[in-house]
Symmetry: C2
Subunit: 232 residues, 2 copies
DNA sequence: CGTTCAATTATGTTTGACATATTGACATTT
DNA sequence: AAATGTCAATATGTCAAACATAATTGAACG
């Protein structure tokens, strides 16, 4: 089998060289970097091409550039950039399903961090959300909103910032009704049909026990709501 | 408190406009897109600036461009692009710790997909790896290699392609010794001190049972190897 | 009918120039 | 002396025009 010959453009080369330079250097966010003209001379590539490469690195936050001052090292936030590609429009059905699976997976795995770091304030906030939800059991829109807030609060309680950023992305992604529908693949559904439904109230009680295994089992039971529900 | 005025460049504007256009259109991978000159006229922005914007979208795979043919819609693979930022050098210690936590979390959450999709071939492959590991219990380098292959094989067995891509990234990331060290934060460690160690052999036996809950408990026990080990 | 080859065309690359804004030094004012 | 105002230097931001390159097209030809 012959593989496709992908000829990389000068921009690609410049991007890679600058990227590798940054990776192997000890430059820290805020440090100033070589100017465009300087880079062009160093790599023997014209300034517009250098600029196209720098434009990419600027986009992902690796570099920043200011007039007169020049180019400075930036501090990229991993999952922020990822958000650009997380438009449902750009993902295949399979990828959307996998992403939903990822979300459920992560939430189950929060158990340890949760037991370790959850505070009294977190529990109070969760209690408030559950109470609000229980006040109007028939309001589906309210349920969706409470559901989102409940799960977001759980993430906050873990005190893991990057996981929180990731979850914000995933929550936003799955707030799109069409995505929810596609994600609710029957692939993993039937295993749960005979299990009991776990409500947010049940889940909260499990959290209070601060036992990771109990929480994990409860969350697993709870998430079948998402796995089985047919959103329309 | 006054917030910082961030003036976006023409490149930023062009990127956003083209991105939104792509998102809101029904264009599918392979469809041809407007040419550079055409875009420049549509947005009243010069071609170099348009090219800087296109360069960004090309980087994340949203567009591809070939000579003579023009620009065509691409099919971005989510986690491939993410790899660019996953260099330990570019991440803070906190982010590295969170990423390691994410990895462990995901592996625990594989239970359902695993029980659903694992095949005889997968089990045989895992058996082979475990046997190889057991043949030389004192060889730490071999253990690391078997460990990597064992966990990778588990991912393959779930038949979730995007999760597999993500895991490949994370595995590569944590093959860097320095990253492993930083990731092994004592933050979640002490909860496991009194539990029994679960070996790859134990884990494999749990997988054979095809019971998600059993596997989850076993994986949770197994991962404390990573949580507690002091890599040097 | 199939092959070859050249014209066409859109991207890739370079050069040169000007616009713009920020920095830092210097002059001015209070 | 400190604060403010002014100005030149400079690096990025933007534009215009041209040529290079390669792939598609189609016409010419066997």
């Amino acid at each position: 089998m012959l593989s496709i010959i992908k000829q990389s453009s000068l921009t690609d080369i410049a991007e890679e060289k600058i990227y590798n330079y940054l990776r192997d250097s000890d430059l820290k966010p805020g440090d100033s970097f070589h100017g465009e003209k300087e880079l062009a001379e160093m790599l023997s590539i014209s300034r517009p091409v250098i600029r196209e490469a720098l434009s990419r690195l600027r986009m992902i936050g690796l570099l920043e550039s200011r007039k007169r001052r020049g180019i400075v090292i930036g501090k990229p936030t991993i999952f922020e950039t990822l958000g650009k590609m997380l438009e449902p429009q750009f993902l295949s059905d399979d990828e959307q399903r996998d992403l939903f699976h990822l979300r459920l997976t992560i939430e189950q795995g929060l158990a340890d961090a949760l037991a370790e770091n959850i505070t009294r304030q977190d529990l109070d906030a969760l209690e408030k959300i559950v109470a609000e939800e229980e006040r109007a059991p028939a309001d589906y829109a309210l349920f969706l909103d409470c559901d989102r807030r409940f799960h977001l609060r759980i993430y906050q309680a873990t005190r893991c910032d990057s996981l929180l950023s990731l979850q914000k992305l995933l929550l936003q992604f799955f707030s799109d009704p069409e995505s929810r529908r596609k994600a609710a693949s029957p692939r993993f559904a039937h295993r749960f049909e005979d299990e009991d439904q776990i409500s947010h109230r049940d889940l909260l009680e499990a959290i209070r026990l601060r036992d990771p295994e109990v929480f994990q089992r409860a969350m697993r039971g709870h998430l079948k709501i998402h796995r089985n529900r047919k959103d329309n």
